[in-house]
Symmetry: C2
């Protein structure tokens, strides 16, 4: 059995794990990300967590280290171009920094792609060759597997699906664009609407319906664009998937062209482990 280190770098939490080629997590440690202190501080945190994790399995042979990070991120150059949730992270050569620090072969990719890889190999995407993974948290990210391979595109920047406009006069997004799916359907957008209305229980249902409708509109677009075998919903919103799936499905049935209507829309199954399991895939798959 082959092993690798996996790092799940988020704006809130930093996790390091020791993973195997079958998607197992042998041990893991985490800490609150030093998100305001720049890359060097976060690298120090990584070093500490790696030491802790390896202490549990002395002498284990490692194939390398996979890192999932916020993006946009160029996986070919190994550079985090910008990480909105991490202060001072602009054009950070994260891959070479981690490689130099650990002496291990290092591969990085953005968290959406890493989540897609994890679900593809070990989660809800098993058995398919073409999947669209949508991660709905504070923002909307994602990753797309085509013919069993990750869609990367120029500079590895593909699958910024949260920044697909679905409304030409919609709200302004964090990215500066207008009507982005993220600005309408992310957990952040939902929270904003909730605050704005200060609603009771009955209206709460309405808010969730609106959320699910926006998710359904974007999912319909992705069905038409990629014709996947399966759409997988991950991120925080996956936890309330059961409350959303009715209206999502209804919206897709109404909006998608007939040959796209029978594509399953399912919840991610790896939960909070998706980041570590997927980062491991960068090395072991």
């Amino acid at each position: 059995m082959k092993h690798a280190l996996a790092i799940d770098l988020g704006g809130t939490e930093l996790r390091v794990g020791l993973v195997d080629e079958e998607g197992g997590i042998l041990s893991q440690c985490s800490t609150k990300t030093a998100a305001n202190d720049g890359p060097a501080a976060v690298l120090d945190q990584m070093k500490n967590l790696i030491d802790q994790v390896l202490d549990t399995r002395r002498g284990i042979e490692l194939e390398g280290i996979g890192v999932g990070s916020p993006g946009p991120l160029d996986p070919f150059e190994g550079v985090v171009i910008r990480a909105p949730t991490l202060r001072h992270w602009i054009n950070v050569p994260l891959r070479d920094m981690v490689s130099k620090m650990t002496g291990l072969r290092t591969v990085i990719n953005n968290d959406g792609n890493v989540g897609a890889l994890g679900e593809f190999h070990f989660g809800a995407g098993q058995g398919y060759q073409d999947i669209v993974y949508v991660s709905v948290g504070t923002g909307i990210g994602g990753g797309v597997i085509i013919d069993g391979r990750l869609l990367l595109g120029r500079k590895g920047l593909a699958a910024e699906i949260g920044h697909m406009s679905i409304s030409d006069v919609g709200p302004v997004c964090n990215c500066g664009n207008q009507g982005c799916w993220e600005a309408l359907a992310s957990g952040g957008a939902l929270a904003l609407r909730r605050e704005r209305h200060a609603l009771g229980i009955r209206d709460q249902t309405k808010l969730l319906e609106e959320e699910a409708r926006y998710l359904g509109i974007g999912i319909t677009n992705l069905l038409h664009i990629f014709s996947p075998e399966c759409v997988i919903l991950g991120g925080g919103v996956a936890q309330i998937f059961d409350q959303l799936v009715g209206t999502i499905t209804e919206t897709v049935q109404k909006r998608a062209m007939p040959p796209f209507r029978d594509v399953p829309i399912v919840a991610a199954t790896l939960g909070s482990n998706a980041g570590l399991v997927g980062a491991g895939c960068l090395i072991l798959r």
Copy 2:
């Protein structure tokens, strides 16, 4: 030099050509498509045109026959699921019909994919590995090349990019959905707006600006989704590319995230030959 027959089946015109592996068209014939008379009548037309084309080059060795057809279309099964511009074309096993009629190996794909293949191998997409081809005519179709290969997806139905909603309350599309890119930015949509307003020359400029803005919104989405090296605009609208490219570029500069802003947006170069050249690629490439 290898040769193949190529068929470009449109709702208005049916063309048959004899093409070579370098994108050359040795001879071609065309006729007005018998669009209201069902598949058998169109097959008869194909037979006649094929005979005419082959009469010009008796005894030439053929590798097969490539067919571009309106879709949605399943290239794996060889079935035209529905062709809105051709009456009575529902679940037509076009590949097997053509193959039986000619005795030749037959490959079919939808006209958007075929146009993308043509531009990729012999047109504006030469030298790239990742392109998005957008065909703007009566509707909006397209095709996507990823890592040098056509994006197909489940049942080969991917790249229905005209049916990406860019406005949640926009006009109803032919497909029944609301706010589709096609319903806002196609040549058909432009003509509708023109009729509705019965405008003078000055307002004509405004109409084109609106058209270009809608094209720019959809292109920005495709940049974020695919991160192509190049976006190629084909179809009838390519003929007025020079009048549109200013506002398209302005819209993309304003809406796209910084790392996507320098992707070239260019006009297709194969013009009305795209369909034949691309259909030839189905066999020869």
